[in-house]
Symmetry: C2
Subunit: 213 residues, 2 copies
């Protein structure tokens, strides 16, 4: 039997994976400082000792969770294959993707927030991240150039600024949805509200980038 599919009483990989999933939830819910190692162990139905066995300590566990989160979103982005679409459509697809991803993976936002509260000290130690983002920035840069050649995008737009802006208008809305709903006396998470926001975001970026928006 090449791959063992039957449930084993002992399975290092499965335990490791359960711990990682539990850690992601707990860190996302409470932040690095607020997360409890015992809680992670309980959620993972693993013994706390195993966490230290596989991951060393709480901080290293957090770093690995974070690396995985970044890897996941970039992998999903790769699958969009924006190169095969006209620039304008590709840009809109990227905006929609970013929004949908944040919406379906709320832990991502909370993890990044937590990492920034700690001045990115875990990401600094990471070696996997560099490579990951080189490709990403390159992709958006290429998209912008292609749009200019097609005669639909304005020239001279900085891909980094555009990237940040596309992320910002979705990220901020979602990360601040709780205070926002109180402050603006509106349920920002109602389905219509979400649709409305996505439409507004597409309009914002299209007007910024396109010659004829």
């Amino acid at each position: 039997m090449a791959a063992n599919t039957q449930k084993k009483t002992r399975d290092a990989d499965a335990t490791r994976a359960r711990i990682l999933a539990a850690a992601k939830k707990e860190f996302a819910k409470s932040g690095l400082g607020g997360a409890r190692v015992d809680e992670i162990a309980d959620r993972a139905k693993a013994n706390k000792r195993m966490i230290y066995h596989y991951f060393g300590n709480k901080e290293d566990l957090f770093r690995i969770v974070l690396e995985e989160a970044y890897t996941d979103i970039r992998e999903a982005e790769q699958k969009l294959e924006l190169e095969h679409l006209p620039a304008r459509e590709a840009l809109e697809k990227l905006i929609r993707f970013t929004w949908d991803y944040y919406l379906k993976n709320p832990e991502f936002i909370t993890l990044v927030n937590s990492e920034n509260l700690h001045k990115a000290r875990h990401l600094k130690k990471s070696e996997k991240i560099d490579e990951l983002f080189r490709r990403f920035v390159g992709m958006v840069g290429g998209l912008l150039e292609r749009g200019v050649q097609e005669g639909v995008f304005r020239p001279g737009i900085d891909p980094v600024q555009l990237n940040i802006t596309i992320a910002a208008i979705g990220y901020y809305y979602l990360t601040n949805r709780f205070t926002g709903s109180i402050v603006f006396k509106r349920d920002l998470m109602a389905p219509e509200a979400l649709d409305e926001r996505l439409a507004f975001n597409i309009e914002t970026i299209m007007r910024l980038v396109c010659i004829n928006p």
Copy 2:
């Protein structure tokens, strides 16, 4: 003597104020969960008992710090007196103000992030907030209407969406400056980078709102 200005060995108001200032710093630095009451007491050069005497408990202290932070930014906004400017200039002034305020008061962003991590449960209990924001949303709504009448703004823009977007493009850049600087291999906090970002933000909003951007 009506107002006592000389330094007293005992001064309830001064101690209260020192505790609040220290709490704001500590909460901003470490979040609600990571903040330490002992650390707040040390920073404030007050005895820990005083914190409980004046503020009840850690959560209430956080709520009051948060209320104060919101009050401060709204008060600063009021002083802009945007009503006395042409709509277009008023809008640009609002964008600049928002950016500058976040830049000069980084605790504000961190406090709001922390509150959202806790699903805004402190803000929900607050009674002072409602009034504060009614006026603010009204102001931006009025600005938009005025711009339409002046023939410079597009009609039909939702003031809440615009508000959120103006905040988002500054807030996201600054709150994620640590991971951003690594990911984009650029010092996002260099003076030129900050100027560049502000200019980009103004362009983004002007293209979104104005008829002739």
